[in-house]
Symmetry: C2
Subunit: 370 residues, 2 copies
């Protein structure tokens, strides 16, 4: 009845909700510090929350499937046309569209060894082979070498670049991305995932990607953005792709109608208008990030300077799984990177008081477990 | 770069939002009567709206991807286990999962000539051929004949049954569905789409489908339900499938993580608990439906008795496209069925005063245009 290829697909299985785990540990929900999913610790913009409350009655009304309001606003924001934009249920869904629409005949997709887990999930669902760079993060030269190596035997349908890279935090310069695009075949789609771009662009102008500049020059690149991070709408599932009209029109063919909810479209529209809130979040993130770096130096943690709203720590005397479990029992959720094959853990940069508590706990752990 | 098969796919393109059209006609939004999309005219349950307002702050928090709360509630509601349930962004998404997961090798899918348009959209996306019955609606004998005819040359990966059928309104009896399932190969998935079941079950017990009964007996059937209609959550995009653990586990393999928003899960959970609200909507629908039938008799419209929250009218002296355009200019949105090849139009059963206005206008149209 079902495709044989499904047998090889491992179901992406969500664990028990962390809230339940906490309840079992006897920790009250209000005492939980959730720094495991790179959610915005400052929440959504107050204007978004107000708009959600005022528009709750629209729950019964189907979404405007043309999405013209949000597309117009994004077009204005990025100085492109609405026909160069597609909106998805999270930028994940745009990744899915790309994987579904691309011709993977005799092809592979390329990605960094340690990068956003969903690239692999959607590539496998599309049944395409994956090649990864040797180093964990993004290194331009490694991508170029890998490209040449695979190219000699296979087509390359897509290259995933996560800039900045989740979960490690490093970020290719915009001109490195341009070099890569120029070096690859015009039939290879370069997927530039800027989920955390707002944080990177604030920290270092060289990391700032201008989608309009890229799509004007190249007809084989798509820029992905999301409202889940700096805009604080992780629960609403809204992301977008910016690319040439040709690419967008092909992705539209695999888009299911009504793929974004009425209130999600509305919330993203309001969030995009509240640039002041977004900027405040990004600024506060930078201040708190500096505290994490200082803490790492003080306590002997190794870290890669991060251009996102998270930081990945490792410590040769610490087993990350043990530390993460211990923190969980204290009510702090961070992301263990064991599933990526790393003895490391990723912490979302929280609010000042949350971070202070994290520092206290980790220090306590180090004193007692090393 | 893209698959050749995409060339044949016609993009499902949403027209200009009707609100914009209305604005161009100079009609204020509050004067528009929207009876084109089978939305619940009574909106969402007041408890849902309250819960949305109280939980708006959760917009920044990722959904619980295990969806255990809603799955538990649905399991209890249908007397099945959570492992026999999958939740989608509308029941549309479950249709998409089925089309993606099934083995369509040398296969066709079967459906009624005139039925829910999304079956064809998702079948075409999956690249599978479609065969349709000769008559517009669902006739058991025609399905059995078509099955035998196709079966002699091809596999049949799935059969779509829309009970009640959108956009026509007729509904197979539950025991006719059982006969069909018993007559087909165990490798054919029978997709029983009960999007409007709450209305049908209230009107006539013979139409009521018990998913638990079906999935206990048959390992090749999936029941689809939605929160978009009787539960009034059209904008939130929540539907579900009920089937054997085997089928659900295969569909889970093609499910994208976080496919339903945080507030959608929450709203569906609250909506399911407010059975009283749902029942009131269904009861009012039946009362207003009787008015539409009386109106049809009085004015000479032909209609099929409807088991949903809509009714399809035709009239040999009326061109449906002309009438629908005329109604639009008066601020009333109904669904022209010209795109289905029918000279007919579908009206969502609205509130008393809305329906009264529709009757007045159609009567006025008949007096002036016939």
């Amino acid at each position: 009845m079902f495709k044989n290829t499904l047998e090889q697909i491992v179901t992406y299985e969500a664990g028990k909700p962390i809230e339940l785990v906490m309840r079992e540990y006897g920790i009250k929900q209000e005492d939980v510090i959730k720094l495991g999913s790179n959610e915005n610790p400052y929440g959504a913009s107050p204007l978004v929350i107000e708009s959600l409350q005022n528009n709750a009655y629209k729950a019964s009304l189907y979404p405007d499937d043309s999405m013209y309001e949000l597309k117009d606003a994004l077009a204005l924001h990025f100085n492109v046309t609405p026909k160069q934009i597609i909106i998805g249920a999270g930028s994940d869904q745009i990744i899915e569209f790309c994987m579904q629409a691309l011709n993977h005949h005799n092809a592979q997709v390329l990605m960094a060894k340690t990068t956003f887990a969903m690239y692999e999930v959607y590539a496998k669902l599309a049944g395409v082979e994956i090649s990864k760079t040797q180093s964990d993060g993004h290194i331009l030269e490694e991508f170029l070498e890998l490209y040449q190596k695979v190219k000699s035997q296979k087509n390359i349908s897509a290259i995933f670049l996560c800039v900045p890279n989740n979960p490690l935090g490093e970020c290719l310069d915009s001109n490195a991305i341009e070099k890569l695009i120029k070096a690859v075949d015009k039939e290879t789609l370069v997927i530039v995932d800027g989920a955390y771009q707002e944080f990177a662009a604030y920290k270092d102008k060289r990391k700032a990607i201008n989608p309009q500049y890229f799509i004007e020059q190249f007809d084989n690149v798509i820029y992905l953005g999301t409202f889940s991070k700096a805009y604080g709408l992780g629960g609403m599932r809204v992301g977008y792709g910016v690319a040439s009209e040709r690419i967008i029109s092909m992705l539209y063919k695999v888009r299911p109608p009504f793929n974004v909810t009425t209130l999600s479209l509305q919330s993203a529209f309001v969030a995009l208008r509240d640039q002041a809130f977004m900027r405040q979040c990004v600024e506060k993130n930078a201040i708190e990030m500096a505290r994490y770096e200082a803490f790492a130096h003080k306590m002997g943690f190794t870290f890669i300077p991060s251009y996102g709203n998270f930081i990945t720590f490792s410590h040769k005397e610490i087993e990350s799984t043990h530390l993460c479990e211990w923190l969980l029992q204290k009510g702090v959720i961070v992301r263990n990177l064991r599933s990526y094959g790393l003895n490391a853990f990723r912490i979302t940069i929280g609010k000042t008081e949350q971070n202070t508590r994290v520092f206290e706990l980790i220090e306590q752990y180090l004193q007692t477990h090393r």
